[in-house]
Amino acid sequence: MAEVTAVAKLPSNGRSKFLQRFIRHRLALLGGLTLLFLFIACFGAPIFAPFPKNQQDLLLGPVPPSFEHLLGTDDLGRDYLTEILYAGQVSLLLALSVALVSTAIGVLVGVLAGYKGGWVDNLFMRITDLFLVVPAIALLALALQGLGRSPFSIVLVLSLIGWTYIARVVRGQVLSLREREFIEAARVIGANDRQIIWKHVLPNLGGVIAVNVALAVASAIIIESTLSFLGFGVQPPQTSWGNMLSQASGLIGTSKVYLLYFPGLFILIAVLAVNFVGDGLRDALDPRSGSGSMQGRKRK
């Protein structure tokens, strides 16, 4: 019997397989490391930043990148790398919170709508449509005007706008999952709805959710930057990459244009890295892909 000889002596530990697959995905690994580096650099800024926060050197004024000031200094003579690292704390934290909160809302709505079907589905999806048709930026600007522009209200408002996409994707997935036979099989062994959702529906959404969190981080960084750039986001004296861009927006064509480039570069790197991680997560979380499959084993 083929099934007897096929037993391979390989580590069957799920977590180590996941790591193996993730590491095999080069770009994801690169993205992950970059992101890790960014996080450590930003949140370890009190240790790693070359200068203390907000240390001004009015006599020095704005100087282009040099060995002493790797990314130059701004008008007040503050070291720009230091400023960017501290601003990154706000940008990254906001983006991560928005991604997690909006995904949580979206998954909840999507799973309930898809699993329950009927009027629950109709109600939830019409509400989703309602959120989708409202122009996001305008709503954000208005809402932030009303709620105040604290980081908390920014997270709240961005999450309330951002959950619609994942809700629709999750609902679609659940609609098809619900008809799969293993869900019926779970019902047959006596599982209730809660057990079925936790043990059979959600784990099968792992890839979608992980990818969405990553993409949502990326888009949250961009939206936050956009809002801050427009003046509706993070308010000075608090800084984020977005409002650093905004403050430097008038400098195109001057010698101080590097003040515009560097925050933009950081946004670009962070968004790209997060996207690569999302890709890698999607591949690694699918137990049928990569080294988990029979083909993968034969290659070894």
Binding site: K9, S12, A185, H200, N204, P287
Partner: protein, 335 residues
């Protein structure tokens, strides 16, 4: 092939009808006045063409019919009425007293969990006092029971790492995890090749001997029934048209449909190879457009005009413990 069967009735289905409300088209009865019973330890085979209502009957017993189905009649299991029972009571029975071995092993396992975890779930859904290691060792024992080699390694495999036969075994392991009183095997071997089929039937046989559970074996393979079941019920168009002991149904066939089914089996000893296989003329009617009278009469070679095409036949006794729903069967004295 009588397993330690007793006379205690485990499951009794009486006058079961399943009615479908269609959004478009006419409403129809998919199952019409069906009656069945299974004693403890007994194996009942259910045969019939695709669409005759075999799987729907099992869904009705489990209380897992589609939402647009309306069910009437009575299903008594261990003396408890299942039709109209509370969902939470049914959940308590499912997987514990009443188990189903699913039709398609390829899709009935969740691809993201290991096989061991899914077997453990079948146990922990009904008993959450067991520790992880206890559950795991139970899963290993069950895999061993269904004849999977190296169960300690295999328990951590994902379903895609199993072959078709092994997945079917894993499903059997899941369904017998709580030593249920009744196992409904819905075409457990259709997706498998013949040698694996024999192994799976052997596993079922062993488990039944060990746990003295009853088996409702749904299949369209008459050979499997002949070798495996104590009694057989033949379904046609949503109804049991003949039922009795395997030998008496196979050798003293009463209903012309059953005779047709048996006659259309290919035979190794047929001398004349050029002679085409026998087939019953026509097709099974759609349940939405059942003919008047006996639903088999348009295809029946011995149908009597004026009777078979007008009156729905009642159940006649064709022998001791052998009944058929046909006007042409003469009632025998039960002795």
């Amino acid at each position: 092939m009588t397993h330690n069967s007793t006379n205690e009735t485990l499951l009794e289905v009486n006058d079961l009808s399943v009615f479908f409300h269609m959004r478009e088209g006419e409403d129809f009865f998919a199952i019409r006045n069906l009656s069945l019973s299974i004693a403890r330890g007994e194996s009942l085979g259910v045969v019939g063409e695709s669409g005759s209502g075999k799987s729907l009957t099992s869904a009705a017993i489990m209380g897992l019919l589609p939402a647009n189905a309306e069910v009437s009649g009575s299903i008594r299991f261990l003396g408890q009425e299942l039709i109209g029972a509370k969902e939470s009571d049914l959940r308590e029975l499912r997987g514990k007293r009443l188990a189903v071995i699913a039709q398609d092993a390829l899709t009935a396992l969740n691809p993201v969990h290991t096989v061991g975890k899914q077997i453990a779930e079948a146990i922990s859904v009904h008993d959450n006092n067991l520790s992880k290691s206890e559950l795991r060792s139970r899963a290993v024992d069950l895999l061993d029971l269904v004849g999977i080699s190296q169960p300690e390694t295999r328990v951590d495999n994902f379903p895609h790492e199993f072959s078709g036969g092994m997945r079917q075994r894993a499903l059997i392991a899941m369904s017998v995890a709580n030593e249920p009183d009744l196992i409904i095997a819905d075409e457990p071997t259709t997706a498998l090749d013949v040698t694996v089929q024999a192994q799976i039937l052997d596993v079922l046989n062993r488990i039944q001997d060990r746990t003295s559970s009853s088996l409702l074996l749904i299949t369209h393979d008459l050979g499997v029934i002949a070798g495996f079941a104590d009694r057989v019920a033949v379904m046609y168009s949503g109804d049991v048209i003949e039922e009795g002991g395997v030998d008496s149904v196979f050798y003293e066939t009463a209903h012309p449909y059953t005779r047709g089914l048996l006659g259309s089996l290919p035979r190794l000893d047929a001398r004349n190879r050029s002679e085409p296989l026998y087939r019953i003329p026509g097709f099974q009617p759609s349940p939405a457009q059942r003919p008047e009278g006996c639903s088999f009469h348009p295809r029946c070679s011995i149908a009597v005009a004026g009777k078979c095409d007008t009156e729905i036949p009642i159940v006649h006794r064709a022998g001791p413990e052998h009944v058929a729903r046909c006007h042409l069967v003469k009632d025998q004295e039960a002795n």
